[in-house]
Symmetry: C2
Subunit: 333 residues, 2 copies
């Protein structure tokens, strides 16, 4: 069946629409990840930046700027900024998670070492601030430095909340904000700010990014329990094995009877897992409809994202953003 | 003998002169290292920030602002910024160096874990940018984001240059800029910038910080080979054992005959060290006057720092900065 315009994923349609901008972003990224003195830096960065990431976050910035009628070129800087912050976060995440794979390839900390991942992440973070300074917008710097603090705070929170059965949905949501929503929201917001859009539109873009990011992360956590391993690029139950308390588990634990609670204490809190535990965990998630309830939260966030865009004018990019919100939850089986 | 005003170290006299400002900096640091959601953050930060560091870098910012007649309060923000960047760097350094001790206490990565050190460092780095944004000065953001990039680049360079006998003095100087001089120079420069000082004075302050930082780091590397273990807080020869190519070693290796070169290849490049190697290394450093030559470079940088201050007006703080440059090289035995 030939691929028609409408059958393509919203992400791909957006990439086609923004192709010239994305090419400029890639050129800028390549020039700024260079280092006069330390060739290790572009090696490590290229491994990640060129690995075929979807460039979703920089695309959100470009899309928001277009939607607000921006005619300048600083949205390219900001899109590269957002991608650098994201890449720096991934490099540090892989050290923190002791991961061996990312996007189906060995992680930088495995190919080089943890040291390189930490320091190259720091370099990209500094470079991202240089890119922002060039735009001359203190408001952009304010938004993205706040997002960076929320990201780091969320990661620390995830570290301490992990394996702790007392983790509430409210703590989980704060972790999700740090992991995903803060950068999504900042990415769309700065697109509006650089375009000089009215406050209602800037606020709308920030809300859209926030809700989209939350929905995106919840679906990710849901697919960890019910996804097709080929499609999600990791194994079903990884979060369970790593004892990460995501929304499905938090809901099932909240509804556990004494016997079930003992199971969660053993497998998550004490980490004494054995054969068959994942199947039993999945059965408990089904019994308490934890996956169904989680997917309802994801859908409601996607709906909130779409509603948020109301103050924005009609525009092909607006349709793509609306479709993107739908697509995020369509991944739920 | 009672301590007189002039017998006190220049650093202590500066701390006394700037006492009110330093108290304000400490209050600001404590309020900004808090985290609403993640109590781990202030725990880790307090361990380092309250550990009795000398606050040398923030004092340089305060001193520069005073010297340029600044009457506002943003120098407090900038001094806290500089301390946060420094603390973030230390947290990441300890992960990279796999250190167990810093300032005579166990490092954060040992007390908590590498993950916490990486993420809390990221948090402090983000917080430092928030503090800068509040000053409303894009130029300050430019200077400190450039310094942050140089710091990270220097650290990566040190990683790849370590154990590599081909490391030149020029590479070493670039590492020193990243490790120490870039933040010293930025710390003094932003003090002048926030005061609205004339360009010649801003440039002079930057040059002073640069030369002071280089001198400071070279003396540090020198004391690793000839210091009093009690005074330097580490053991003689640590850099040799860790196969770090600092200026004394680079000079001795450049002057090595074939037999000596084989010794350096075995001990530094291959890392096959045995009893007596440190003594032999020290003998080779003496034979080639590598320590004497290194101390001459340190003294010439200290002299450059003092000369740089010529365009600044007479002021008690200027005398303290001049004395500080002298004091840095007085530590050489």
């Amino acid at each position: 069946m030939p691929e028609t315009e409408n059958s393509r994923k919203p992400h791909d349609r957006m990439a086609a629409y923004l192709a010239d901008d994305l090419a400029a972003v890639n050129t800028l990224i390549r020039s700024r990840m260079a280092s006069e003195h330390a060739p290790r830096i572009p090696e490590v960065t290229a491994h990640l930046v060129e690995a075929g990431g979807k460039r979703l976050r920089p695309m959100l910035t470009l899309a928001a700027a277009h939607l607000c009628g921006y005619q300048g070129h600083f949205h390219i800087n900001l899109a590269a900024t957002v991608e650098f912050i994201h890449t720096a976060t991934l490099l540090h995440d892989d050290v923190v998670d002791e991961s061996g794979q990312r996007r189906g390839r060995p992680t930088a900390n495995l190919l080089w070492d943890n040291k390189s991942s930490v320091l190259v992440g720091d370099y990209l973070f500094a470079r991202s601030f240089q890119l922002m300074v060039e735009t001359g917008s203190l408001r952009v710097l304010d938004i993205l430095s706040n997002a960076s603090a929320t990201i780091a705070e969320g990661e620390v929170l995830q570290l301490t909340a992990s394996q702790d059965l007392a983790t509430t949905e409210s703590i989980y949501m704060q972790v999700v904000r740090g992991k995903t929503a803060a950068l999504f929201a900042a990415a769309t917001e700065v697109g509006g700010v650089i375009a000089g859009a009215p406050e209602t539109q800037v606020r709308a873009l920030s809300d859209f990014g926030d809700a989209l990011g939350i929905s995106f992360q919840i679906v990710d956590d849901l697919l960890d329990f019910q996804g097709d391993p080929g499609a999600i690029g990791k194994n079903v139950g990884d979060d369970f094995r790593e004892r990460k308390l995501t929304m499905p588990l938090i809901k099932a634990i909240a509804r556990a009877d004494a016997e079930e609670r003992a199971f969660w204490v053993r497998t998550i809190e004490k980490g004494r897992q054995q054969d068959g535990d994942l199947d039993h965990a999945l059965a408990l998630l089904t019994k308490h409809d934890a996956l169904g309830d989680t997917s309802r939260v994801a859908r409601s966030e996607a709906a909130r994202a779409k509603q948020a865009l109301a103050p924005l004018p009609n525009h092909p990019v607006k349709e793509m953003l609306l479709d993107l919100a739908d697509y995020v939850v369509e991944r739920i089986s």
